[in-house]
């Protein structure tokens, strides 16, 4: 009997190992196809697939290895033969072979093209001069980084997604950066004019120069041939030493074209709904493919879906790719930008619901059909709602559209939670994962492993977190397994005053004996400072070991500014100040050349002090009776007031006196976050007390107390806690409120978010601090009494001790030598930071 001829293992050759190529390999492995096929990968780049979506994170510390998309051992485990740095050069479809650059010949039964795209560089004169780059690969970034070391300015041609990423990278490299966009607005594909306007304002405020509506006509070069500037289509020229082209991408379809496969008129390898090219043995997936709907998709999510489709088709499974959701959410230059669905409102009869706040750079537009169905939207400056809005697209949301775009406190109800989403809502559009699939998992690692949700662009991670059961580990950071509130209780009950002792006794196993981290050190420092009088510890935040725990501002008892100088804010309780004290502030500002500005908290900020000047400035201020205003600390800032009954015809109580009393009572109180307050003398509310952490409004018979208010990026009106209180009742309730907040809040959690998070909300808070339902009130009052009794002014303490003053030097080895990089230029009869010196001028000849 003759031996049976073994059936040869079919060969798959994958050309291209980017994100989509890797997804295809994973799809094969998940379906068992790597066991039945011999898989070979030809990769042009010198490293395996990496996360190109987060390429820019290289500049914020991610290494190329961090960006890798390939799990350790993946290739070996699945028997995949990966050839790095050896791209395919030629396809012979008749012979069914691929020839690589090294000359090796790879036979195939199935060929998959995942060749991606290449950056489009407009063919303007000088486009290939030294100093011109594209922004596509890690090698591109390395080259830009190297070239930028000896340059001071850069320009990005293209204001789309990648262009803004590139601009952020250039600015991060210290270059004075400009963006040139041919369209009349930034990100013209994704967002509308309103969103583009908001984005433009925010980006310009960051110090970038933006040119819209102009093209690049020529890259100008110097005698050595390298880039010196650009000529724009409006005839103007701009100086720049480095140019990054980010003017779109084009499908890499040359191999397919040369081998006779059908290619679209405007590029892209034509594929059907199963991702097969004109040759049924050849697939094309990702950015190189022209999908059956006639589009080339430049986003990773459609590429992933094509990879899944091609893998399914290989195994005879039914799956089609007929188009994709182009929703996008990114943080560009620190600005959240998102668009989803019919963002431009092209659906006939659709209507826009728009919220725009030019001051804060927030723009939100929802596009809805006449029957209320959400069609799409644009979010700029605040894209928190993206994770919920995108899955709601195509359905009638459970609340009105205006409630979905208005900020909290402006008439909107409590934010819509993920519970409002149907089970079938797609949460991760990169991997097409539904709410139900996520909710079936126990934790985030399981979600990522089983569904891959959250492993693409990452924009769904927040919603995923809300859908999962509460995490078992609520630890503050990698050093402590406890929350801030739990740490507070540990410190209080065990009377611990040493960070090292706390870390060594209560830190995680691997953190004990270590240095701690930038999360837990200031947190523990704040807890110890809050409890210091009760613990019998020094309340001075810079004593001994405490000094190492403080944030920079606390470390110098001043607020660090953009150019390395500091600002000084003396306390002006209640906003009341005598002419003599005003004169002292003026004289100090004049004598030290400081910029002065009235703050929103009714005091005066003095900017531009060097570290060395701080003690001398404060010596003058303390001598005149001023104290630290704690503008640098997570502590009570100000208690604003209107003039109240004393002067105002409408006032019904002495709001100034009450504000002064409250400010002096709570000054220096360290808290999880800053605390602001105000007292209004009547219901007209001139002091804006309802926007404060604790606000007081006078009534004919006493005071109303409001808590949990907030201005800033997420405004919230305060809630009325108690009415018609006497002076003593008011103070007692505020004592309890503040100490309960300090005891139970999370790190950096303002009272507004704490109150919204508090189980039972305002009713529970009222039960605890008004009705003493937990029996805590005596303890809370005692803690506050300790604070009040032991308060000392930090700057007066500092000035009394030469050793403490010794830290106020720019250079440890050259006391008295000012930092030469802290300079100023004149503006409106005062000074402003000279930021140009920080980016334009070499220092000490080290460039």
């Amino acid at each position: 009997m003759a031996a049976a001829t073994p059936t040869p293992t079919p060969a798959i050759v994958l050309i291209g190992h980017g994100m989509v190529g890797q997804r295809y390999l994973e799809a094969l492995a998940e379906r068992g196809a790597t066991a039945t096929h011999r898989v070979t990968v030809l990769c042009e780049e010198p490293r395996p697939a990496y996360d190109r979506v987060h390429l820019t994170s290289y500049f914020s510390g991610s290494s190329p290895e961090d960006l890798s998309m390939v799990p350790d051992g993946f290739m070996a485990e699945h028997g995949i033969d990966l050839h790095l740095g050896d791209p395919a050069e030629r396809i012979d479809r008749e012979a069914r072979t691929v020839v690589s650059r090294s000359g090796r010949v790879f036979p195939y039964d199935v060929l998959v093209l995942a060749t991606g795209s290449f950056p489009f560089v407009p063919p303007v004169p000088g486009h290939d001069a030294p100093g011109c780059f594209v922004y596509r690969t890690i090698e591109d970034l390395l080259a830009i980084e190297e070239y930028a070391r000896t340059r001071t300015s850069g320009a990005v041609v293209g204001g789309g997604l990648l262009g803004l990423e590139a601009a952020g990278a250039l600015q991060g490299l210290g270059l004075v950066t400009r963006i040139v966009e041919f369209a009349p607005r930034l990100m013209p594909v994704q967002i509308d004019d309103g969103g583009g306007g908001a984005l433009l304002r925010t980006i310009e405020n960051m110090g970038l120069t933006v040119h819209t509506g102009v093209g690049t006509q020529e890259v100008l070069t110097g005698e050595d041939g390298s880039v010196t500037g650009m000529r724009l289509s409006d005839g103007s020229t701009v100086d720049t030493e480095l140019v990054v082209f980010s003017a779109g991408v084009r499908p890499r379809d040359g191999l397919a074209r040369d081998s006779g496969l059908t290619v679209g008129e405007r590029g892209g390898i034509g594929v059907d709904a199963r991702c097969r090219t004109s040759d049924p043995r050849v697939y094309a997936i990702g950015e190189c493919a022209l999908a059956s709907d006639g589009r080339v998709y430049g986003l990773v999510a459609p590429g992933y879906e094509m990879a899944e489709t091609a893998a399914d088709d290989l195994l005879g499974r039914e799956k089609e790719f007929t188009g994709a959701d182009l929703s996008t959410k990114l943080k560009l230059l620190g600005v959240d930008v998102a668009s989803f669905g019919d963002a431009h409102g092209t659906t006939p009869g659709c209507l826009d619901v728009v919220y725009s706040d030019a001051r804060s750079g927030v723009y939100k537009k929802l596009v809805v059909a006449p029957d209320g169905v959400l069609l799409g939207g644009v979010l700029v400056g605040d894209a928190d709602a993206y994770g919920l809005l995108r899955p709601l697209t195509g359905s009638v949301p459970p609340v009105t559209p205006e409630q979905l775009v208005l900020p909290a406190g402006a008439g909107a109800p409590v934010a819509l939670g993920p519970s409002a989403l149907p089970d079938g809502a797609v949460i991760c559009s990169c991997h097409n994962v539904t709410k139900k699939a996520i909710a079936d998992c126990a934790d985030l690692p399981e979600v990522k492993k089983c569904t891959k949700a959250g492993t693409g662009c990452g924009s769904c991670l927040k919603v995923i977190g809300q859908l999962l059961p509460a995490a078992a580990d609520k630890g503050l950071c990698g050093c402590f397994p406890f929350s801030r509130a739990e740490l507070y209780e540990i410190v209080r009950t065990r009377r611990l005053t040493s960070y090292r002792e706390i870390l060594d006794a209560h830190g995680r196993e691997g953190a004990r004996g270590g240095d701690g981290c930038e999360v837990c050190k200031p947190t523990v420092g704040s807890i110890i400072a809050s409890l210091a009088p009760t613990l019998g510890a020094s309340g001075y935040v810079l004593d001994g070991e405490q000094a190492a725990l403080q944030d920079t501002n606390d470390h110098f008892l001043a607020n660090l500014q953009r150019n390395g100088s500091y600002s000084v804010v003396p306390r002006i309780p209640g906003g009341e100040i005598t002419p003599d004290k005003l004169i002292v502030i003026g004289e100090v500002a004049r004598d030290f050349g400081l910029y002065t500005k009235i703050t929103g908290g009714q005091r005066i900020d003095l900017f531009g002090a060097s570290v060395d000047q701080l003690p001398r400035i404060w010596a003058r201020l303390v001598d005149a009776g001023f104290e630290s205003g704690h503008a640098y600390g997570k502590a009570l800032r100000t208690v604003k007031s209107c003039v109240g009954q004393t002067w105002c015809r409408y006032g019904v109580q002495d709001s100034v006196r009450m504000a002064i009393d409250l400010e002096l009572r709570y000054r220096g109180l360290r808290a999880p976050h800053k605390l602001k307050s105000a007292v209004s003398g009547c219901a007209r509310e001139c002091a804006e007390a309802q926007s404060k952490d604790f606000g007081v409004i006078a009534t004919a018979s006493g005071w109303n107390l409001y808590v949990g208010g907030n201005g800033g990026a997420t405004p919230r009106h305060a809630d009325l806690l108690a009415q018609d209180l006497s002076d003593a009742e008011l103070v007692r309730l505020i004592d309890r409120f503040l100490m309960f907040y300090i005891r139970t809040a999370d790190r950096l959690e303002r009272t507004s978010t704490w109150l919204e998070r508090l189980e039972g909300g305002l009713d529970h808070l009222r039960d605890v601090i008004v009705h003493d339902s937990l029996g805590l009130c005596a303890e809370l009052e005692a803690l506050m009494a300790d604070h009040v009794a032991h308060y000392r002014d930090e700057w007066a303490e500092t000035l009394r001790d030469p050793e403490r003053l010794g830290r106020f030097v720019s250079f440890v080895n050259a006391p008295g030598a000012p930092d030469p990089t802290v300079r100023f230029v004149p503006e409106r009869d005062q000074v402003k930071p000279d930021l140009a010196i920080l980016t334009l001028e070499p220092v000490g000849g080290t460039r």
Partner: protein, 84 residues
């Protein structure tokens, strides 16, 4: 113990080791006008991993880093690019 920085041809005294606060950086001025950050860890002397010092500098007992390469909380982002 004095903390010293080795420059091209000599050692530069920076400060007494006891004047460094563990966990915090201090700035030191070099003769050419450039600046470096000097750290000491909890143990008081052992160097902490950080990128190499500028110009091949070496140091006894502490860690030195360029402003540009070290995540130093006392320096605003703009200043971290002063000395590449």
């Amino acid at each position: 113990m004095t903390v010293e920085l080795r420059l091209d041809d000599h050692w530069l005294a920076v400060c007494e080791l006891s004047s460094l606060v563990p966990g915090r950086g201090v700035a030191a001025l070099l003769p050419d006008g450039s600046q470096v950050a000097v750290f000491v860890d909890r143990a008081g002397a052992a160097p902490r991993p950080c990128r190499a010092g500028p110009g091949g500098s070496d140091i006894r007992g502490v860690t030195v880093a360029e402003w540009a390469s070290c995540p130093l909380s006392t320096v605003p982002p703009a200043r971290e690019r002063v000395l590449p």
